[in-house]
């Protein structure tokens, strides 16, 4: 993939994440911050499908943006063909791993398995 395409995704995910995280924070403020962190309240959020979808989107956006940012930092830190390949594939694998693990949590909670 061309670097410009990757950076378009990087900027796009940042903008989208800012918008969705703002919605997420506003939702927390509607019921009081301490109450929103209570166990039952958190479970209720996951079981409300539109909210669960939004959390899933935030997870994907932040994972893509964050791991690409990490890749960029690591590429600037050190150079070398093998190192750069390891960094790129490593960051991609870590991103997939985090999304899979986070999605598992969201889906299991949504389906009442937790």
């Amino acid at each position: 993939m061309r670097e410009s395409t990757i950076m378009k995704i990087h900027y796009g995910t940042a903008l989208a994440a800012v918008a969705l995280v703002a919605v997420h924070i506003l939702m927390r403020l509607t019921q009081g911050f301490a109450e929103s962190l209570e166990y039952e309240s958190v479970l209720a959020n996951y079981k409300f499908i539109p909210y669960a979808i939004m959390l899933e989107l935030i997870l994907i956006l932040l994972s893509v943006h964050g791991f690409n940012g990490l890749r960029v930092i690591l590429l600037e830190l050190k150079q070398g063909k093998t190192y750069e390949k390891a960094v790129s594939y490593g960051c991609f694998a870590a991103m997939i791993g985090l999304i899979v693990y986070g999605s598992r949590t969201i889906i299991m909670t949504n389906m009442g398995m937790i």
């Binding site: 061309r2 670097e3 410009s4 990757i6 950076m7 378009k8 960029v72 590429l75 600037e76 830190l77 150079q79 750069e84």
Partner: protein
């Protein structure tokens, strides 16, 4: 050796009898047998118009002719005498001692360049990056027929790139760039600004080729817009702006 003698014999504009003097600290380092650089201090007389380069040449003439420094035109045209002067990349021939407002002037080789000796650095990386972005007009009809005129441009078309054509390849922008300090493969602000210079030229047809060259993992996207390249340019070129304009092409804001 003959060259060194001729340099030492040159007349500088600074009379030795000047009442004012500064301490000139010169970084000395020979990678062949020195482990680290050391500063040598010289008391050098100066006048209002004395440049840092003239002070260094004064040292070569009267104190130590072995100080290695690269220079040529003495009028900020050749781009040879770039160095760190009191911690900032500047052209020694274009920096007057009187405008530094300091009694101690420290000169060091430019950052982000391998040192040959003392103040002289290697320019290979800069020239390689410059060459990589194809710094010439790319056209199918580059050879003019006898009945044709030159490639005409309107003043507005010239305005698009003319400031970037002032680059003298002195390397000060690359020396000031924080990304250049850590990323040894980064193409650098000088080459990126020159890429914009040719991409923005209405006579050029090599835009896609050049954008492809700079659109890689150590290309244009590694610029973090610190802007230090534009701050240090002695010719008023704004590489940081050129880089942002170039990004506009890659992001689809410009065509």
């Amino acid at each position: 050796m003959a060259q060194v003698s001729s340099i030492a014999d040159e007349q500088t504009s600074t009379p030795v009898s000047s009442s004012k003097s500064i301490t000139l600290r010169i970084s000395r380092y020979n990678p062949k047998h020195d482990e680290s650089s050391q500063f040598m201090e010289f008391s050098v007389p100066y006048e209002k118009w004395t440049t840092v380069l003239e002070a260094i040449l004064e040292v070569k003439k009267h104190f130590d002719h072995s100080v290695a420094v690269r220079y040529s035109c003495r009028q900020a045209t050749c781009g040879s005498c770039g160095m760190m002067i009191n911690g900032k990349p500047r052209l020694a021939c274009f920096t007057k001692i009187s405008e530094l407002n300091s009694n101690v002037i420290t000169v060091e080789p430019m950052n982000n360049f391998p040192i040959i000796r003392d103040l002289a650095v290697k320019f290979e990386r800069l020239f390689d990056s410059h060459h990589k972005i194809k710094p010439y007009l790319i056209r199918d009809d580059s050879e003019l027929e006898s009945d044709e005129r030159e490639f005409l441009q309107s003043p507005k078309e010239v305005e698009q790139y003319i400031q970037f054509a002032n680059c003298i390849k002195c390397g000060l922008c690359n020396s000031a760039c924080p990304t250049m300090a850590t990323d040894s493969s980064f193409v650098g602000p000088q080459a990126l600004a020159q890429a914009y210079r040719y991409v923005a030229d209405s006579r050029d047809k090599g835009k896609d080729t050049r954008l492809k060259i700079i659109d890689e993992s150590h290309g244009i996207w590694r610029c973090h817009f610190a802007g230090s390249c534009s701050q240090v340019c002695p010719k008023g070129v704004d590489p940081a702006m050129g880089i942002q304009l170039l990004r506009g092409y890659l992001l689809g804001f410009r065509s």
